[in-house]
């Protein structure tokens, strides 16, 4: 298993799919997760973006056979994720899956997302924890209220039913990745507002039911005054996104604005 992992690092060009895991102090959780992903999806590269962890997250990821990008200091979830997107643009991956490293997102669902994105009728496939009938996802009450609120707003604005706008479990094609790598990507809390931006940028969004587990210790993102800031930021971000529609669409079409650019379709085939 280990030797195979090293091989994959060297023959990178074989795969057109990459799974990006932004990780902050996940030394313990990562190796089993990477192993699990590797078994379920052998034909994909795994890139861990170590967001300036204090422990040996990057080392653990490399040992488990993933690629590790180590940020020099902590930039936050969104910026770490964006690093992965920039990397996958540079490496010209066709499909990118983003998922959390804390075990909240079930690797079994990656294939569902990939199958859907490979149909090429959507640029972003969002994994929804609420779509599947046997969903046992139980979020704390305030979080559920928040999700419901943003679900309503997002669905209303983009005229499309979105059940899980706060999901960070997504599959993207190159068009979407290019957008995510652009300066418009909200790097502090990429969330419900991102979906509106995607819609405004003319990208097609689809939802697929996925399995999510309540994460064991998610203190970093939703505790203390963070939810208040979060809701405020989300409203502000959505509001200004609506204000800048025109400029926005032009920007995303103008490809030279974004580094690491390459023709989107048919790079490899």
């Amino acid at each position: 298993m280990h030797a195979e992992g090293i091989m994959n690092l060297h023959k990178k060009e074989e795969f057109d799919t990459v799974i990006i895991l932004p990780a902050f102090n996940e030394e313990k959780n990562l190796p089993p997760l990477i192993e699990n992903i590797r078994n379920k999806i052998p034909c994909a590269d795994i890139v861990v973006v170590d967001d300036g962890s204090a422990d040996r997250t990057a080392r653990a990821a490399e040992k488990a056979g993933a690629m590790a990008i180590r940020l020099p200091f902590n930039l936050g979830y969104g910026a770490a994720l964006q690093t992965g997107f920039k990397y996958s643009l540079m490496k010209r991956y066709r499909y990118v899956v983003q998922m959390d490293a804390d075990g909240q997102h079930d690797p079994d669902s990656i294939n569902l997302l990939l199958e859907e994105i490979k149909k090429e009728d959507a640029d972003v496939v969002i994994g929804s924890r609420f779509l599947s009938p046997d969903s046992n996802y139980k979020a704390p009450f305030p979080r559920r209220v928040g999700i419901t609120l943003f679900r309503r707003i997002v669905s209303f604005i983009i005229h499309q039913k979105i059940t899980d706008p706060t999901s960070g479990f997504q599959a993207l094609n190159r068009d979407a990745v290019r957008f995510y790598a652009s300066p418009y990507y909200p790097v502090d809390y990429p969330d419900a507002d991102t979906i509106i931006m995607l819609h405004r940028a003319g990208l097609r969004i689809k939802e697929v039911p996925v399995l999510m587990h309540p994460s064991p210790g998610r203190k970093s993102m939703h505790s203390g005054l963070k939810p208040v800031y979060y809701i405020f930021k989300m409203f502000l971000s959505m509001f200004v996104t609506l204000l800048r529609k025109d400029k926005f669409e032009k920007r995303i079409i103008k490809k030279e604005d974004i580094p690491y650019d390459a023709p989107t379709k048919d790079i490899r085939h």
């Binding site: 690092l9 060297h10 990178k12 973006v49 690629m67 590790a68 990008i69 180590r70 940020l71 020099p72 200091f73 930039l75 910026a79 964006q82 690093t83 920039k86 990397y87 540079m90 300066p183 790097v187």
Partner: protein, 117 residues
């Protein structure tokens, strides 16, 4: 406005002026940031020296005392300066983020190439 107040305001703003120019001379302050401070100093000198202008402004904004006009403009300038700094910090923050991302990616790429060669 008493003579004392005027002397104080004028000497203070002249000192501010000199300090700013010296900072620019010693390359401690970039020219593009100094203009706001120089403008602040110039306006304080102007208002303190030209009393009629200050009286006119006081009447214009509906203040009672000319000194409060001076203070008001001082506070306004500070607010503008800090807002300007906020935008600067935002863009610096963005640049640092982009550089950190680039460095991380390049480092990874470099290591990968080292290992495979």
């Amino acid at each position: 406005m008493t003579l004392q107040q005027r002397i104080f305001a004028i000497s203070f703003s002249i000192a501010l002026f000199i300090i700013i120019i010296d900072l620019v001379r010693r390359k401690k302050l970039r020219e593009d940031l100094s203009w706001l401070w120089l403008l602040t100093g110039a306006v304080i000198i102007l208002l303190a020296a030209w009393y009629d202008m200050l009286l006119f402004l006081t009447r214009l904004i509906g203040a009672v005392l000319p000194t409060s006009t001076l203070f008001l403009f001082g506070v306004l300038f500070l607010m503008i300066i800090s807002l300007y700094y906020s935008t600067k910090i935002s863009s610096l923050h963005d640049q640092v983020k982009n550089i950190a991302q680039q460095v991380a990616i390049l480092q990874t790429e470099l290591q990968r190439r080292d290992r495979s060669s």
